[in-house]
């Protein structure tokens, strides 16, 4: 058979796992097609096709699915449940393929392996082998690809670094992937924290990273903090957090607070369940560090550029004027 075209929507967990998914599918001989960066058209498609109560990022995901569906033989939408002990993904990730199938019609078949490390190793393997059988008849090759994928998945999960794979976004190295300690000497260090599908989707966050970069700000993200530092900071919590993605946000927020950088902007999306809880955790913790400015930006399909620009400017003004005041009074 010819090369099967498998579509991966460039939204949600794409920003966490794309390189792993791609390598697995390609090693089986499939052609991977992504929906590309979010555009207004994609956003409109998503808002139109999802129920209105659902959170903004899932609406964006729907838009990517819609823009891909007629160009591919299969859609790859894994059901991401659990990749570490004691933590899950958000319920909407657990039911993502089911939601997509329920509300969108004339879809190509879905490839939806369940990723849940709590289940037996065989069920994990079987879900992948089933995927392999769709693409290739060569069972030796399937097994090989599975073991490779499993190995790189485990390596990925165990690696100490947390850096962003350049395969995920290749917009001219807009930000460094690693946190360089000497970088912190930059005049203004601002951390942009939030789910990776908000922080790195320049369309949704209205180009926030480039805008900050343009004003000579050193932009820091959660991906620059080492996993062990994140884990260490999380120990301070009275009760552990049980969402994998939020752990990274909270842990890195605590890390940056302790480093006393100049400011933290928490990017959240409207109706995001996790954000509503961890926003409170970070806000309360930030009160203990009065020199670190903290603010929250909420994004949804109605977020206007003017509003975000005003907030950003006012936030930076506040920091700059405060610093000026402090240097005049000490």
């Amino acid at each position: 058979m010819g090369n099967l075209k498998i579509g991966i929507p460039q939204a949600l967990l794409y920003y966490e796992y794309f390189p792993l998914w791609k390598n697995f599918l390609e090693s089986l001989g499939a052609e991977v097609i992504i929906s590309g960066p979010t555009t207004k058209e994609i956003l409109d498609l998503g808002v139109k096709s999802a129920i209105s109560e659902i959170c903004f990022p899932v609406k964006v995901f729907y838009g990517h699915v819609m823009s891909l569906k007629d160009r591919v033989d299969y859609l790859f939408i894994p059901r991401m449940v659990c990749v570490e002990k004691g933590a899950y993904f958000c319920p909407k990730f657990l039911g993502l393929p089911d939601m997509v199938k329920s509300s969108l019609s004339s879809l190509p078949p879905l490839i939806e392996p369940t990723i849940d490390i709590r289940k037996s190793a065989t069920s994990f393997k079987n879900s992948f082998l089933a995927v392999g059988k769709l693409i290739s008849n060569n069972s030796k090759k399937i097994y090989q690809s599975f073991y490779e994928a499993q190995k790189s998945f485990h390596l990925y999960l165990q690696s100490k670094e947390n850096e962003l794979n350049p395969e995920i976004i290749n917009i001219n190295q807009q930000y460094s992937t690693k946190l360089l300690q000497n970088n912190m000497k930059n005049p203004l260090n601002i951390a942009l924290l939030g789910h990776s599908y908000l922080v790195y989707d320049a369309f949704i966050n209205l180009n926030l990273i480039s805008k900050l970069k343009k004003t000579k700000i050193n932009v820091l993200t959660a991906e620059m903090v080492r996993k062990q530092d994140i884990e260490r900071k999380l120990k301070r919590l009275h009760k552990p957090i049980f969402w994998t993605l939020s752990k990274k946000i909270v842990g890195s927020a605590f890390y940056f607070l302790e480093k006393r950088i100049d400011g933290i902007i928490h990017l959240t999306s409207f109706e995001c369940g996790e954000d509503s809880m961890i926003g409170e955790l970070i806000r309360q913790e930030s009160l203990k560090y009065p020199t670190v400015a903290y603010t929250e930006f909420v994004f949804d399909e109605h977020t206007g550029e003017a509003g975000i620009d005003t907030r950003t400017e006012a936030f930076l003004d506040m920091i700059i004027r405060r610093k000026r005041y402090e240097s005049n009074h000490t």
Partner: protein, 324 residues
């Protein structure tokens, strides 16, 4: 003499303030933007021109602020273009350096600014909907057929405000209609609306902020004494509405222009009051370079292109040099 001009272009109103070197307000103008910011700026400048003798003043610097600050800055040739939070804070601190909290409620957005030792330490803006903003009141006033200016007086007469539920205009409206049908008095309904706005403001915009006195309440809605009373009732402390509460943003922009000129010693880029007689034109086109289909806007003075923006990628952008 040296004077400084501040212009605040918001979605609902456009305000101008002229200050002298000591920061005293010489003249203020407050008018509706009505969706035509350039016309509003020209109208405001014309009104100012009529009320002051141009020979006795010399505008040394101009600052613009508000959601239309970039456009305004381009049109008048501003020396400084600042966001409205910084501008409001600067103006308030100029009037009273002790202020700790600013409530600012305008037409479509509202803000809270927390100050300490004369600097901004925290701020918040309304997030998604029109919760706790002026447009919430405007719409209900329209429904009740009462001019918005009289809203406050009605509210003050009430001794028994009705509880009106609803964050958004739509919810509040259906609840208000229901209360009307139950036969409540107008004044009690209006007082209820004022309380609803204050509650929404405190639960949304001001959530988690440390509100300390002295508190200044400014912006268009501050003229409404019913709202001020509701704030005082809810918080149990005095809330001050400053004299120039409607044009605080413009005053701040003027002060910032003064600061900028004094720090840099440069000449103003102000196009002068003559701009009132010039013909400004804006036109837009939809770029079809990518699926984003950005609306690109171009500004002309007498057929000369002076600025262009609106594209996400930046290939069209041509902004007025002082912007930023």
């Amino acid at each position: 003499m040296a004077e400084f001009l501040g212009i605040d272009v918001g979605s609902i109103s456009t305000n101008l303030a002229l200050i002298n070197e000591k920061g005293e307000v010489l003249h203020q103008v407050y008018l509706r933007t009505e969706g035509q910011p350039i016309e509003a700026i020209k109208k405001g400048m014309a009104e100012m021109k009529q009320n002051i003798s141009l020979d006795s003043i010399q505008v040394r610097g101009v600052g613009t602020t508000g959601s239309g600050r970039v456009l305004a800055g381009t049109v008048v040739g501003a020396d400084v273009v600042k966001n409205e939070i910084t501008s409001q804070a600067i103006a308030t601190l100029h009037i009273n350096p002790q202020v700790r909290t600013i409530f600012e409620i305008g037409g479509q957005d509202s803000k809270i600014i927390i100050l300490q030792n004369g600097i901004v330490v925290d701020f918040g803006m309304n997030t998604i909907c029109a919760a706790g903003t002026g447009s919430f009141l405007d719409q209900q006033a329209y429904r009740l057929r009462i001019p918005i200016e009289e809203f406050g007086n009605y509210a003050l007469q009430s001794t028994n405000p009705v509880r009106i539920a609803g964050r958004c205009t739509v919810f509040a409206e259906s609840d208000m209609i229901h209360k009307q049908q139950l036969g409540y008095e107008k004044k009690d309904i209006i007082a209820g609306l004022c309380e609803a706005l204050v509650r929404n403001y405190l639960n949304n915009v001001a959530k988690g902020k440390k509100i300390c006195p002295p508190i200044f309440f400014q912006g268009g809605v501050a003229s409404n004494s019913g709202i001020r009373k509701s704030f005082e009732k809810e918080l149990g402390v005095k809330v001050t509405v400053p004299e120039y509460h409607k044009v605080m943003g413009a005053i701040g922009a003027a002060l910032l222009a003064k600061e900028e000129i004094e720090n840099t010693g440069k000449e103003t880029s102000f196009r002068g009051f003559e701009l009132v007689d010039k013909e400004y034109r804006t036109q837009g086109f939809e770029c079809d370079g990518c699926p984003n289909h950005c609306e690109v806007v171009e500004i002309f003075i007498e057929d000369e292109l002076i600025a262009r923006w609106g594209d996400r990628c930046g290939k069209w952008s041509l902004t007025y040099s002082q912007v930023g």
